[in-house]
């Protein structure tokens, strides 16, 4: 394994990881450090997060700048009027359709279903699950304490359960 494959997180030099993990790592660190570290995102590559002082220099030297440069400096395709054809009439016309788009969250938030909690921070997830219990099972089910927990806690430790 070449050392090139290990990269550092732009938000915290102490974070290092395999190159393939960088993308999702940055997404998280950008969220966590949003108040502390402010980095600008390169217009050519969303994976480049650059401190403000270096930003100008980066935009000039970014290797992905070629995407735009290639576009700007090469000759664009000529417009060919010949490819035009008579308008194809359709039996239907949806141009004036304007209905609200379906939002699955509305259904999910009301149905008797197990909702997915991935993609949340741990605290958010806990709160989310708690809320889901409250919503679907009612309040009384929300006790997470084991029975007799407080009472037997010390006793259990003093006297181990014997087989």
């Amino acid at each position: 394994m070449s050392p090139k494959d290990i990269v550092h997180c732009p938000y915290n030099r102490a974070h290092f990881m395999l190159r393939k993990k960088l993308q999702q790592h940055i997404m998280k660190c950008r969220e966590i450090y949003k108040d502390e570290v402010e980095l600008l995102v390169c217009p050519f590559n969303k994976a480049h997060h650059i401190p403000a002082p270096e930003f100008h220099q980066h935009t000039k030297s970014c290797e992905d700048r070629k995407i735009i440069m290639h576009y700007q400096y090469s000759q664009a395709a000529e417009l060919n009027e010949e490819t035009k054809h008579e308008k194809i009439e359709s039996e239907e016309n949806w141009d004036d359709t304007s209905v609200d788009d379906y939002n699955p969250q509305v259904y999910a938030s009301q149905a008797n279903i197990v909702r997915d909690a991935s993609g949340m921070f741990p605290a958010q997830r806990k709160a989310f699950i708690k809320q889901e219990r409250l919503r679907q099972l009612g309040e009384e089910s929300d006790d997470v304490k084991p029975p007799k927990a407080t009472k037997t806690h010390d006793a259990a430790r003093a006297k181990p359960y014997d087989r």
């Binding site: 395999l18 190159r19 993990k21 999702q24 998280k28 590559n45 969303k46 994976a47 992905d64 995407i67 576009y71 395709a77 417009l79 010949e82 490819t83 035009k84 054809h85 308008k87 009439e89 359709s90 039996e91 239907e92 949806w94 359709t97 304007s98 209905v99 609200d100 788009d101 379906y102 699955p104 969250q105 509305v106 259904y107 999910a108 938030s109 009301q110 149905a111 008797n112 279903i113 197990v114 909702r115 997915d116 909690a117 991935s118 741990p122 997830r125 809320q131 409250l134 099972l137 009612g138 309040e139 997470v144 084991p146 927990a149 006793a155 259990a156 430790r157 181990p160 014997d162 087989r163």
Partner: protein, 896 residues
């Protein structure tokens, strides 16, 4: 996303959706211990993150919009929540008064109303048994159009499932025991104390019973001597409404499937007893089952799919023996045959990539294990009870990638060739037609066969004693019959040819025969003139045959093909083609046709490179074998269509009922030359009503990134082009995103969709336009879902948007293609973001229409044409060109 990041530290439940024991066993790294005896191999936090992310197929259903519309709908019924465990009050009753309409102004659906009663039973307490009909004006994701059809899907319902809360414990054993099998054994000695059918994966314990105290301490003695202490700590209850509940259900199912004597290979369970040997090719097919229980539209369903695993009976040792025949080159040959292979070791069911061969060592060499020097022979005898037969074989070296980041980078694994089974198919095997056919006889199952196999699986599961016991212990019962689901068949779409002549495809959604009496929609007015054909002298006659057929076929379709300038070359070397291509530029040809003797990749690449990168001229390569084909006329028809496309004209179109629409497709393909690179291609339709042309652009990206970093620059180019042609930006944008796995939907939304929406808004603001209406749809071909129309495949145009879809998505399945053999696999579409203001019916129909526009095939394709084009273009650049093609070609289908 947070889940992934946290995985290393927080163990609790991210792993256990995979089967417990094996999941852990994989983490145990035998060979890592060779160099560092206190290997951290089985430290749970060191499990390669990949394993755990694989283990969570169900984590994919990330919600769209959850973070986009922050804490939107949860707290909607503060006052009613305690009583309403049934469906909440319908809009219009008191409940809806407090409802905040979410950002998009969507009205809530009358949930559960049309679902009827049965699935409601699974919550234990009473619920309001109110029959409601859904008001018409409520927004749903179910369409209404089309001919209804009853289908079966490869799903089973759950008759009953655990109704109580599951108790979750954490088990610590001290002194620490690494082996999971041993841990399981130790706990099983105390089985009496635990409830029947407890689930233990080596760390976590799930039970139905609550232990008396929060912390239970057990004592015992190891058979090998020495005391141990088990500490069972209470963690929490798992209620029936949280994702962990589904993971436990999956665990239960896995456990009960073990009763069928299945073996875990990779992630799925396979049946070695039912293996199908294919002796002449040294391989076996193991039939197996891919199962997952997850929350579907209304019910929790079990998805079961029959898969096959190709197991090669060959070991690396066999390869060694084969290459020994030439003693002088033996080492070199073995090395070149073995390097890069992925091998499977049966004893721990793990796969490794072979990075090197160490000829200086043999299995008799020793390494330090637990402070002692042990030879490999002794180690395998001791640990796995495996006797190594040949003590003279060299050793294989594998560098373990995932671990390298945590420890130092020199962490390597040593393997014994004799114990390493070769996996996967080699390029050679893949091109072996007979082998592939022998395999497909078994792997491509007709729908009726598949139904039968699924039913048998279900029956076995409910009849085998051990399996039933696990299921009954947890009060779980499966439905015997496959789930039925109502689908709809979208009407056949009209294909538009020249002079507004329209025709309908046949029942297989194919319109090849209509080329006989219809002309292509647009063709160049002066035909194909000023073009060049390069041909080796000895294939001169082939060229004449081809040309005469081409001219005949093309004239029937309205394309006049003039005689080309024929350039003869004296041999078929690549350099000769290159020289002629370079010298013919002074003729300024519109197209170059190369007749080649065979499909040599290097020559093909060179021709394409000169055409696409240096000259910006479309090229057409034809092999002489095609010319001698008996059905040359139909091939000539296809080539004529291709030639027309390569010049930028359109063979046919569909009726598009929307104006100002731009459809985009995006896909990524890895570079064949540089593993760290990939190419992303974006193809956009410019106008499908009056000027049916397409724009394409390619960008180089990193192979490590799943999400596209360059999406906006590429999309901006497409928008510029649209603006250039129409003097205005598109009103509606339909984006089909292919090449992304279902697991990263959440990230996809955060990373790509939000960014695009934001930048589009800015772009349109600058142009003084209202923001565009856009839908961002992910396209997935790899869904495990199958539909059966009685005993056959559903016809093309079948849409399913209920029951087996996912509740937290705006998704649908569409069968757009026809297959000749086996079972059709529907394409899954997920509308990740939409403000396009179309009904689900229209969106489904539009998607189906888009599947008619792939000009290499006069029939429907599996995915929308723009995606198919993007894939084709990305593959061409990734495997042949390796550089970005010239912009001058961007309006032509040079990549077809």
């Amino acid at each position: 996303m947070a889940d992934d990041q946290e995985r290393g530290r927080r163990r609790p439940y991210s792993r256990n959706s995979d089967d417990s024991d094996e999941g852990r066993k994989r983490a145990e790294e035998p060979s890592a211990k060779f160099y560092k005896c206190h290997s951290d191999g089985s430290d749970p936090s060191r499990i390669p993150p990949k394993a755990s992310s694989d283990a969570q197929p169900s984590s994919s259903s990330s919600s769209r919009g959850r973070s986009f519309v922050p804490n939107e709908p949860r707290a909607e019924y503060p006052s009613t929540s305690h009583m309403s465990r049934g469906p909440p009050p319908p809009p219009g009753t008191s409940g809806s008064g407090q409802m905040d309409a979410p950002a998009a102004g969507v009205r809530p659906t009358g949930t559960g109303s049309e679902s009827g009663g049965p699935q409601g039973n699974r919550r234990q307490t009473d619920r309001y048994d109110i029959v409601r009909t859904r008001p018409d004006d409520v927004v749903t994701k179910q369409g209404k159009d089309g001919r209804p059809i009853m289908l079966k899907a490869n799903f089973f319902g759950l008759k009953t499932m655990p109704q109580w809360r599951i108790v979750h414990y954490h088990v610590d054993i001290s002194p620490d025991i690494e082996s999971i099998r041993l841990r399981l054994g130790i706990l099983s000695e105390h089985a009496k104390l635990l409830s029947a059918g407890y689930l233990y994966d080596g760390k976590q314990l799930f039970m139905t019973k609550v232990l008396e105290s929060e912390v239970t301490v057990l004592k015992g003695q190891l058979k090998t001597g020495g005391d141990y202490i088990i500490t069972i700590k209470f963690v929490g209850f798992i209620s029936t409404v949280e994702p962990r509940f589904l993971q436990v259900l999956n665990l239960i199912l896995r456990r009960s499937m073990k009763g069928l004597k299945l073996e875990l290979v990779g992630r799925n369970l396979f049946d070695p007893m039912a293996k199908i040997p294919i002796h002449q090719h040294h391989m076996e097919l193991w039939p197996g089952y891919e199962t997952s229980i997850r929350q579907h539209e209304k019910d929790i369903l079990l998805c079961a799919e029959i898969t096959h695993k190709v197991m090669r009976t060959e070991t690396v040792y066999d390869i060694l023996r084969r290459s020994s025949q030439n003693p002088s080159r033996h080492q070199e040959e073995f090395r070149s045959n073995v390097l890069g292979l992925v091998v499977l070791t049966d004893y721990n069911n793990k796969t490794y990539r072979v990075n090197d061969v160490d000829f200086s060592q043999t299995p008799n060499s020793t390494f330090s294990c637990k402070g002692k020097d042990v030879s490999f022979v002794e180690y395998y005898q001791m640990k796995y009870n495996i006797r190594i037969r040949d003590h003279g074989q060299p050793l294989l070296i594998s560098k373990n990638k995932d671990k390298a980041q945590k420890t130092n980078a020199s962490d390597i694994v040593v393997l014994i060739p004799e114990l390493c089974r070769v996996t996967g198919l080699t390029e050679n095997m893949r091109s072996n037609f007979q082998l592939m056919r022998a395999m497909s006889d078994y792997t491509r199952m007709k729908p009726n066969r598949r139904i039968e196999r699924l039913t048998v699986f279900n029956h076995r599961l409910q009849a085998t004693h051990e399996s039933v016991k696990v299921l009954t212990d947890w009060n779980m019962r499966l439905e015997e019959k496959l789930v039925e689901v109502k689908g709809r068949i979208i009407d056949p779409q009209k294909i538009v040819f020249n002079q507004k002549r329209k025709c309908l495809p046949d029942d297989n959604a194919d319109w090849t025969k209509h080329f006989r009496d219809h002309q292509m929609l647009t063709t160049p007015s002066d035909g194909l003139s000023r073009w060049v054909a390069i041909v080796p002298r000895r294939n001169g006659r082939d060229l004449n045959t081809l040309l005469s057929n081409l001219v005949r076929a093309a004239s029937g379709m309205g394309l006049r093909i003039r005689d080309p300038t024929v350039l003869e070359i004296y041999d078929d070397r690549t350099a000769s083609y290159v020289k002629e291509m370079n010298s013919c530029t002074n003729l300024d040809p519109k197209l170059i046709l190369c007749l080649v003797p065979n499909n040599n990749v290097e020559r093909y690449s060179s021709i394409k490179k000169i055409g696409c990168i240096d000259k910006g001229i479309p090229t057409q390569v034809v092999t002489s074998k095609t010319v001698s084909n008996r059905s040359l006329m139909s091939i000539a028809t296809k080539i004529a269509v291709q030639l027309n496309c390569k010049m930028g004209y359109t063979p046919w179109m569909i009726e598009l009922p929307l104006s100002g629409l731009m459809t985009l497709g995006f896909d990524i393909a890895k570079s064949s030359r540089d593993r760290s690179k990939a190419f992303g291609a974006l193809v956009a339709s410019m106008d499908l009503q009056e000027n049916s042309t397409y724009f394409s652009t390619v960008a180089e990206c990193s192979a490590y990134d799943v999400l596209a970093n360059h999406l906006w620059p590429m999309m901006a180019k497409a928008l510029r082009q649209y603006q250039r042609e129409h003097k205005i930006l598109p009103k509606r944008i339909l984006f089909y995103r292919d090449g992304v796995s279902a697991g990263s939907l959440q990230q996809l939304f955060e990373y790509e969709v939000k960014d695009i929406v934001e930048k589009l808004d800015n772009e349109y603001k600058r142009a003084n336009l209202p923001p565009p209406m856009m839908a961002y749809i992910t396209v997935s071909r790899s869904s495990k879902t199958r539909f059966f129309n009685r005993e056959s495949n559903p016809p093309p145009g079948t849409v399913v948007d209920d029951v087996v879809t996912l509740p937290e998505r705006y998704d649908f399945y569409l069968v757009s293609q026809t297959v000749r053999q086996g079972t059709v696999s529907p394409t899954s579409y997920n509308v990740l973001y939409s403000n396009i203001n179309l009904t689900p019916d229209q969106l489904q129909k539009l998607t189906y229409k888009m599947c008619h526009l792939y000009y290499n095939w006069s029939g429907t394709t599996r995915v929308p044409a723009v995606c198919q084009y993007a894939k084709k273009l990305a593959t061409l650049v990734g495997t042949n060109l390796h550089t970005i093609p010239q912009s001058a070609l961007e309006k032509k289908f040079y990549y077809l």
